[in-house]
Symmetry: C2
Subunit: 202 residues, 2 copies
């Protein structure tokens, strides 16, 4: 009896978790301060069930943020990273920014309850893609090699999140963001002594 | 009687607040997770007194962070911002970074409980200094004018905080940080079409 019940229970739990993560991602994308009660209601589960899977609001925000990054995997995987590394970088920034902007409110929720190191750790997979592209650009001499590669990866991460902060603060229009990020990251990656490229020249 | 007591009470309260802020700045600079009880103990006040002035740990971290920024005022005020704006920027980064590095643990405490917009708002005064220098560099044609000034201010803020994150994560040595920040911010501020300067050329 227990043996036949256990898989059904596990399937139930998995359905609950999936519903909670979808509801959390959706609710926090509308309102970074969405409460656990609101999320439980949107997921159609009780608060006790929710707390059974996610002991604190921070755990729930962490899981919803990881869920959103997983969601973006296919879009980033589809970006053509071949050819001139600077143009490939511009394409990768464009697609990455669309995701950051879509999940801007969820990012704010995460930034309010998680330390920056945790937010960065959740970006491990998209960051590896950036790192490989930087390494190729360094090997081809179009990106600077005099600073640590990890520093350049972190620079792109923080410049992109700065755009989200600037929009949240009302200092930047959403449609200016991708151009600002691309211009700044391209400049930051350019080797010393080289001219700052403009996309139209490449 | 009440009239003579009131100022004494206010003076008492001010002494308590000052002791709490010093203790909070000191404790959080050693351990970003320092508890309210630890801070009250270090300040020589009871928890009830502390909570009377700072209703939550987040309020206390916020006040300690504001206190640390005020502490840095004189050091930044002493920086010579005249002459070539790029060299002035390098000097300002050097002094600002010393402060960020000194309060790196307190910054981490703040980042874990305050949203990025609040952390940025607490930097209002040092950021205005950066903004004036950028405007002068733009007027003299050595900093780019094709991106919003507020964007460049935010870029310097986030690149500097990225250095703190990278050190916390063990990916950057403390003594590499100022050079990385200066190189990246100088590049980010260089007008398109211009060569990325190196400090030794200026």
């Amino acid at each position: 009896m227990t043996q036949s019940k256990a898989p059904a229970k596990r399937a139930d739990a998995q359905r609950s978790i999936a519903a909670i993560l979808d509801a959390a991602t959706e609710s926090l994308s509308r309102n970074p301060d969405a409460s656990v009660s609101e999320i439980a209601k949107a997921a159609g589960v009780g608060r006790v069930t929710l707390y059974g899977h996610f002991p604190s609001r921070a755990d729930l925000v962490d899981a919803a943020f990881a869920h959103a990054i997983e969601d973006g995997h296919d879009a980033l995987e589809a970006v053509d990273l071949s050819g001139d590394p600077r143009l490939a970088l511009a394409r990768l920034i464009e697609s990455s920014w669309q995701l950051v902007d879509r999940f801007r409110s969820l990012l704010l929720a995460a930034q309010s309850v998680l330390p920056p190191g945790r937010i960065r750790a959740l970006h491990e997979e998209p960051m590896q893609r950036v790192q490989h592209l930087i390494e190729r650009g360094q090997a081809e001499g179009v990106f600077r090699s005099d600073l640590p590669t990890s520093w350049l990866v972190g620079t792109m991460h923080s410049v992109m999140h700065n755009a989200a902060d600037e929009i949240n603060a009302g200092r930047l229009a959403t449609d200016q963001a991708a151009d600002c990020i691309t211009a700044t990251v391209l400049a930051a990656f350019t080797p010393p002594g080289h001219r700052i490229p403009t996309l139209t020249d490449l």
